[in-house]
């Protein structure tokens, strides 16, 4: 390695001679910064001037008035009620609510599955341990988008439909979605039932949502499992031995002794994984689920407002990431050991 390579100590030779300004230690940094700053400034000004010129030529100068125009398109599955006569901003908001729905459910599912998998990789059962490894290695090395289209087009769209659907008490799984019994209007208990050849139930997850959620959970859980494994591995072996010598079982040791300590290592790692999950939810567009990105793309097409739509998208995802980071930082402060 280059460590041993050394050159003549030039600074020693030059001692005493007056330092010219271009070699002055205090001037050089500012020169460098000035040069970089100027380059960036000129570049940004160049791009912006082009943008304004081109947008003016196309009659598309930045404006936000279109946001309150009626959207004209429908969105299939929204928590926030939305119809074609509602304005664009409400459509985008409905998309955002759908994104949040996927992200929150996905975070919970992936954390649960990932933690179980991470714990299982320390199991004494060789089969379980190795199967966990195989799962992680398979899932992590296949692109998420490929997994999503696989879940949707191959798995979920092969489900039976109508009366042939998979029926369990209170739950029905059909090609159109998962239907769960619940309280309908007027606190009346209602199970899944067929109306005019279409399943109906108080609680419904479409297969688009299901495929997206399954894909996201499967993919993220493999990464979370690695984070959890790393966290547990960071707990000194002595802790395990001490706990088991106290007569605690494997699961008790893990839950009461090891995990609380491992969390200190796990939580920062989880932050990264949660943010990727939130960003990956934008792949919903590939399986026909109307999330924020999908609605934004439709909006761009119907209005032609590329710049505004991109700004809305980038701003919202940045805010979402920031929010997750803030939450995780708070959690991180909670799990750090308060010594003395």
């Amino acid at each position: 390695m280059g460590v041993t390579r050394s050159s003549l100590p030039r600074s020693v030779l030059g001692a005493g001679a007056p330092v010219p300004w271009w070699r002055n230690r205090r001037v050089i940094p500012w020169l460098v910064q000035g040069a970089v700053g100027l380059t960036v400034l000129v570049l940004v000004a160049f791009l912006l001037s082009n943008l304004i010129r081109n947008l003016t030529a196309a009659g598309l100068l930045l404006s936000w008035g279109w946001l309150s125009q009626p959207a004209g398109f429908d969105i299939a599955e929204t928590i926030l009620p939305f119809q074609a006569s509602d304005p664009y901003w409400r459509g985008l908001l409905a998309g955002l609510v759908n994104t949040l729905r996927v992200v929150v459910t996905g975070l919970l599912g992936a954390t649960l599955l990932g933690t179980l998998l991470g714990m299982a990789s320390f199991s004494g059962n060789v089969l379980l341990r190795n199967l966990t490894r195989v799962y992680v290695e398979v899932v992590r090395n296949i692109p998420l988008l490929l997994q999503l289209v696989f879940w949707y087009f191959v798995v979920f769209l092969s489900l039976p439909n109508g009366t042939a659907a998979i029926q369990l008490p209170g739950v029905v799984l059909a090609k159109s979605g998962l239907y769960i019994a619940g309280f309908a209007e007027g606190l009346r208990w209602m199970g899944p039932h067929l109306v005019n050849g279409v399943w109906q139930a108080p609680l419904r997850w479409s297969v688009e949502f299901g495929a997206l959620l399954t894909g996201l959970i499967a993919y993220s859980s493999a990464f979370i499992a690695e984070v959890v494994r790393g966290g547990i591995a960071a707990v000194p072996k002595g802790q395990w031995e001490a706990a088991s010598s106290l007569g605690l079982s494997w699961i008790q040791t893990l839950r009461q002794v090891v995990l609380p300590q491992a969390l200190r290592v796990i939580v920062p790692g989880l932050n990264t994984q949660y943010i990727s999950l939130a960003k990956n939810s934008s792949l919903a567009v590939a399986v026909g689920f109307s999330d924020l990105y999908s609605v934004a793309e439709t909006t761009l097409n119907q209005t032609g407002r590329a710049v505004e739509v991109v700004l809305v998208l980038l701003g919202t995802y940045l805010a979402l990431d920031l929010f997750i980071s803030l939450l995780m930082n708070g959690l991180n402060r909670l799990v750090q050991i308060r010594e003395r």
Partner: protein
């Protein structure tokens, strides 16, 4: 009791709960494997892969120009053989002093088996099968020659040899795209695996220097550089790749004067590069953080200039620490190329879409997706394996042991 049985009992049936878990898992594995085998051998129609193998490999690349890609593959095989041989040309005591360690023998066996089996399974014509065999032969032969006679080469020649790799990349670009007397093949005609590999290799090569610069910028003491780097890195890491690709496809035309915007394949390549650079910067930064401050100070006190100290003392150590997470980034970059299908580029997944739209292969989703999954898995797993091997090689303890 038989030791094997005792071992099995300890590993799989230590407690009643363990036993139940084992039985349940065995049941799941059995059911999964049997239904998979039934699908693969009786339900699946693999003709969709056989008939479209060229499309998956190179997309709509003109047939009369495909010899250039064969030549490139042969050159790549030659380069791999020589590199591999040169790396093994100094028999090391920890490998039993042989030119053909066990792992290498296994690898060569696998390669030959693959070059025999795969073209046959794809139903390629005998002449094409022969071509693959010849390419494998070139690889193995050069591996042997370089391993055997590499040490006899004159020193300056050996030192210049690594320069062949960037040269090969340039030759490859010319072979693929045309120029220097070759007919030009427009990027819109590149596709399939060719496009996937081109996009990822381009982004990996270029994001590396950018990422290192950004990481250094982020650790710089100059506020403008530091804040500029932080702003860039956090902005890119906060946005989903698809919105950035969308931005690149839909807005670059507005940001540059007419006609200056690059072709959309190159546009996507640049977006991927700029995207990956931000993530790579974070990996490099963690590596830099792991190098003790004393290293820099020691190098400076030996009279090295700041750039010299960074280039020959700090960065090499930081790179070694950062290697695993950098390779992790490269693997996700390779996976991220699938997103290009969402903006209408014909990389592997995009090609898959058009193939499945063909009336003759309607509904053959499972076969196509399964094949792509295997392909991606092999590429990503190979990258991971390579990184682990490199990590072991660069481990200072191991270097010290081997002298």
């Amino acid at each position: 009791m038989n030791p094997l049985l005792r071992r099995l009992r300890h590993d799989l049936f230590a407690t009643p709960a363990d036993g139940l878990i084992t039985l349940a898992l065995l049941g799941v594995i059995g059911a999964g494997a049997s239904s998979f085998l039934r699908w693969a051998f009786s339900q699946a129609r693999w003709a969709v892969i056989q008939a479209n193998s060229t499309l998956f490999a190179v997309g709509r690349y003109p047939i009369d120009q495909q010899w250039r890609l064969w030549l490139l593959t042969a050159l790549l095989a030659a380069a791999t053989g020589i590199t591999w041989g040169m790396l093994r040309s100094h028999p090391r005591p920890d490998r039993g002093g042989t030119l053909w360690p066990r792992n290498d023998r296994i690898a060569v066996g696998l390669l030959v088996a693959l070059s025999l089996l795969l073209p046959w399974m794809l139903g390629l014509s005998p002449s094409v099968q022969l071509r693959w065999l010849a390419i494998t032969a070139v690889l193995v032969l050069l591996r042997w020659l370089a391993g055997r006679f590499g040490p006899l080469l004159p020193g300056p020649f050996k030192r210049l040899l690594p320069l062949g790799l960037p040269l090969l990349y340039l030759i490859g670009m010319v072979l693929i795209g045309g120029g220097l007397g070759l007919a030009s093949v427009s990027p819109s005609e590149w596709g399939g695996l060719l496009l996937t590999l081109l996009q990822s290799s381009f982004a990996i090569l270029l994001c590396f220097p950018l990422g290192v610069l950004l990481a250094l910028g982020r650790r710089s003491e100059l506020p403008l550089l530091r804040w500029g780097s932080v702003l860039y890195i956090e902005f890119i890491r906060g946005a989903p790749l698809i919105t950035l690709l969308f931005l690149g496809q839909n807005m670059l035309g507005f940001l540059l004067p007419g006609g200056l915007a690059p072709e959309r394949v190159w546009r996507a390549a640049w977006v991927l590069t700029l995207f990956a650079a931000a993530y790579l910067a974070e990996a490099v930064r963690s590596g830099l953080a792991a190098v003790p401050r004393g290293q820099l100070e020691a190098a400076r006190s030996l009279g090295m200039s700041m750039p010299q100290a960074f280039a020959s003392v700090v960065l090499p150590q930081a790179m070694r620490v950062a290697l695993p997470s950098m390779v992790g980034q490269f693997i996700s970059l390779l996976q991220d190329t699938t997103l290009l299908s969402l903006i209408g580029l014909m990389e592997l997944l995009g090609t898959a879409r058009t193939v499945m739209a063909n009336p003759a292969f309607l509904g053959r989703n499972a076969e196509v997706y399964f094949t792509l999954a295997v392909l991606f898995w092999c590429c990503c797993a190979a990258l991971g394996l390579g990184s682990r091997a490199l990590e072991r090689r660069l481990d200072p303890a191991a270097i010290a042991r081997s002298g």
